[in-house]
C-alpha cells in the first residue's frame, strides 16, 4: 500500500532537479475484482513540493497517473545541503511527506 517516497534532489549551476518515486496503488476506480465487484478508487489527488517553506511545485491529479507515481521537476533558488519536501494527499484523505537533502 502506501509507503515512503524516494526523493532525490541534485543541484547544478543553480538548478535543482528533484526526482520523486511515490509508493501508492493509484487505483482508478475502473477495475473490477475477479468476482466482478468494482475496486474502489484510491489515488493521489494533490502533490506539493516545498523548499524553505515556499511551494516550488503543486499538482492536482486524476486517477490516470501510474501506480507508484514518478515525478520529476526542476527549480532555482536552492543550494546544496538545503532540503526539499514533497507531500501527497489522496482521495481518502491520507497524506505523506518525505524530504531530501539537496546534493
Amino acid at each position: 500500500m502506501a509507503g515512503p517516497m524516494r526523493v532525490r534532489a541534485t543541484e547544478e549551476g543553480g538548478l535543482t532537479t528533484v526526482r520523486v518515486l511515490m509508493a501508492h496503488p493509484m487505483e482508478t476506480g475502473l477495475r473490477r475484482s475477479s468476482d466482478g465487484s468494482p475496486i474502489a478508487a484510491h489515488y493521489i489527488t494533490n502533490v506539493e513540493a516545498t523548499h524553505n517553506g515556499r511551494t516550488v511545485l503543486s499538482g492536482v491529479w486524476g486517477p490516470a497517473v501510474s501506480q507508484n507515481p514518478f515525478l520529476a521537476f526542476k527549480f532555482r533558488g536552492a543550494t546544496k545541503g538545503q532540503r526539499v519536501a514533497v507531500r501527497w494527499t489522496d482521495n481518502r484523505g491520507a497524506t505523506r511527506t518525505d524530504e531530501a537533502v539537496i546534493a
Binding site: T28, S58, V65
Partner: protein
C-alpha cells in the same frame, strides 16, 4: 435504527456518505473541487480550463511513439513560453481526459516528467497557461496493451 444512521453520518465524511447512499457517484466525488477532472471529453476538459488553446511550437511533449504497456507511459512536457504558470496533460481517449494539472511558481522550470495511464492509442495533449493565455501541443502515442485495467 435512526441512532445508528446518525452515528454513521457523523463518523464518515459527507462525501463518502453521499457515495454510499448512491446520491453522488464515485466519479463525481473524485472531481469535487477539481475543475476539469470529471470532464469526459477533451473538449469539455478544455472548456473548463478556459477555452480552446492556441497551438504552440514552444511546447514539447516527449512520450513513446509506441507504448507496450498503457499502464505506465512516461511523459515529459516542456514549455519554453515565458510566464508559464500552469501545465496540464490530457489523454484524449481516456475515460477522463484530464490527467494532471500543475502550478508552476516563479523560479520553477516549466518542465514536468511523470508516468501516465493510457487506455488506448491516443493523442497526448499538453496545455499550458502562459501569461494568462492557453497554448497547446499534441503528440500521439500508440498503446499496445491498454492501461485502464479490467
Amino acid at each position: 435504527m435512526i441512532a445508528t444512521r446518525r452515528t454513521v453520518l457523523r463518523a464518515t465524511s459527507a462525501m463518502a456518505t453521499l457515495v454510499a447512499l448512491g446520491i453522488v457517484t464515485a466519479q463525481q466525488a473524485h472531481a469535487a473541487g477539481r475543475p476539469g477532472f470529471d470532464a469526459r471529453t477533451l473538449q469539455d476538459a478544455l472548456r473548463t480550463l478556459g477555452g480552446a488553446p492556441a497551438t504552440s511550437n514552444q511546447i514539447s511533449i516527449a512520450s513513446p511513439d509506441v507504448a507496450e504497456n498503457g499502464a505506465v507511459v512516461p511523459v515529459t512536457v516542456i514549455s519554453r513560453l515565458p510566464k508559464t504558470t500552469e501545465m496540464f496533460v490530457l489523454v484524449e481517449r481516456n475515460p477522463l481526459p484530464l490527467t494532471v494539472a500543475f502550478t508552476i511558481p516563479e523560479g520553477t522550470e516549466a518542465e514536468i516528467q511523470t508516468r501516465l495511464r493510457m487506455g488506448e492509442t491516443s493523442n497526448i495533449v499538453a496545455v499550458v497557461r502562459a501569461d494568462g493565455r492557453l497554448f497547446s501541443a499534441v503528440k500521439e502515442t500508440r498503446v499496445i496493451l491498454g492501461g485502464c485495467g479490467g
